[in-house]
Symmetry: D2
Subunit: 146 residues, 4 copies
Amino acid sequence: MRQWSVDEVKRRLQSFTANQGFNHWLSPRLLEADEHGAVLEASVREDMTQHHGFVHGGCVSALADMAAAWAGALASGLDVVTSNFSLHFVAPAVGEAIVARARVLRAGRSVVTVDVQVFSRSPDKDEKLCAAGITSIAVVSRPAPT
Amino acid sequence: MRQWSVDEVKRRLQSFTANQGFNHWLSPRLLEADEHGAVLEASVREDMTQHHGFVHGGCVSALADMAAAWAGALASGLDVVTSNFSLHFVAPAVGEAIVARARVLRAGRSVVTVDVQVFSRSPDKDEKLCAAGITSIAVVSRPAPT
Amino acid sequence: MRQWSVDEVKRRLQSFTANQGFNHWLSPRLLEADEHGAVLEASVREDMTQHHGFVHGGCVSALADMAAAWAGALASGLDVVTSNFSLHFVAPAVGEAIVARARVLRAGRSVVTVDVQVFSRSPDKDEKLCAAGITSIAVVSRPAPT
Amino acid sequence: MRQWSVDEVKRRLQSFTANQGFNHWLSPRLLEADEHGAVLEASVREDMTQHHGFVHGGCVSALADMAAAWAGALASGLDVVTSNFSLHFVAPAVGEAIVARARVLRAGRSVVTVDVQVFSRSPDKDEKLCAAGITSIAVVSRPAPT
């Protein structure tokens, strides 16, 4: 039983980004969202980089995790937490933004399995795959504290 | 062939934390470090939390990734990048700090395999396991840009 | 609520090994088993090898999966299925047997998180780590078909 | 530098299936193979099942691993070994066959990253996703023993 519609989940994400701790710090923009997945984009800032000047793997994985979790929330209409994820880095993340594309593979009652890919976007809008993985998102049945 | 001693790797980590992008943002403290692994601790701040008030999984995984990568650098004496990691969340991360314990399972020439566990530490210094995983750290043979 | 005691879970495993499909094919021996984990050993046969003469990764991962699943059944006292696992291979598996050591990291109501390591054992009883990983075992609440 | 063409890799796989240890036991058929990936199919037998009558996760993961490794060999033209993999099970594998579809995400010099999905195929040829994951295949530069 859904607690929230797709539109309500989108509003929650936008509210978290505007007001809430780490979501505000990373400030992902919601490019696409429906019951099948979510696409989030974050602008690259200097405080997201590592010692080679690339986006730090920790930020790449954080955006991947967020996109997967939001895909789980959109698919279930319920509060979710990440149960586990695996992420493989295939190229340095450079450019002006990173974009995480999360796609629901299966929405079960207690777990949503989500495929996720992260791309880096150059100033001339070319996208290049920089990480790919798979995530289990646990559905939390009771309403979350607002 | 090592490029840096354990002490030199430790100095690099401390320099990154003082001066460098995302490492400075997360500001991990190096509690232990030798050729067999590394223990990093980060104080919990409001901008690291998610919507339940716990430390965001993205910050837990970022610290896990850093500890694993530093374990790879300590074991190899060379520059490294994370190739891939899997992380399972087992309890909410709450408290005043999170502590990542990374232990080298095998140091190969091109890959260091690292086991990592993240604990949350309460103000009365109790530690509780909040995440556990495994990581492949790729050894980059040539000197990194400083 | 447990359905089976530790001893009953052990008897189920031994019955599966004696009579049941792939469990019979792999024929693991139960070396240790309690609520904290399980140790399974399988003799190496020619039909378990790959093209270098090592034990095939598929057999290493199958034994790892079995040990993790049995650890989940022992910890929960209920029927279980593997939800997901990650396995990193660190050395070729050679010798007369492979031994999987699964240790429960956390036993939740719906998921048991299990750390697993696989060792190869030489004829003179030396053990060498050949793979390590982490597994989520899903607890199936209703009795399984016998 | 490739050691084998795509056709030579295909012949090697078919030779392994005909003659070699665990490959012969599982006996995958090669449905598709080029530099971008491989599709392998294995008939379901009673000795591949678990206690609910489904295909054992160990066999699902073994076929996933084989397909990913062959994708790595096809992409590189060199001998390969699996470095690590993560597999998420999303539905029971039932039916007359299981089909693993491995797709190369990136072919690096030392590692090929491969996305893999396993489907179960019913007698009326419907396919259903039963597992999905991601794999790092390590390229072994020197010729393998034949």
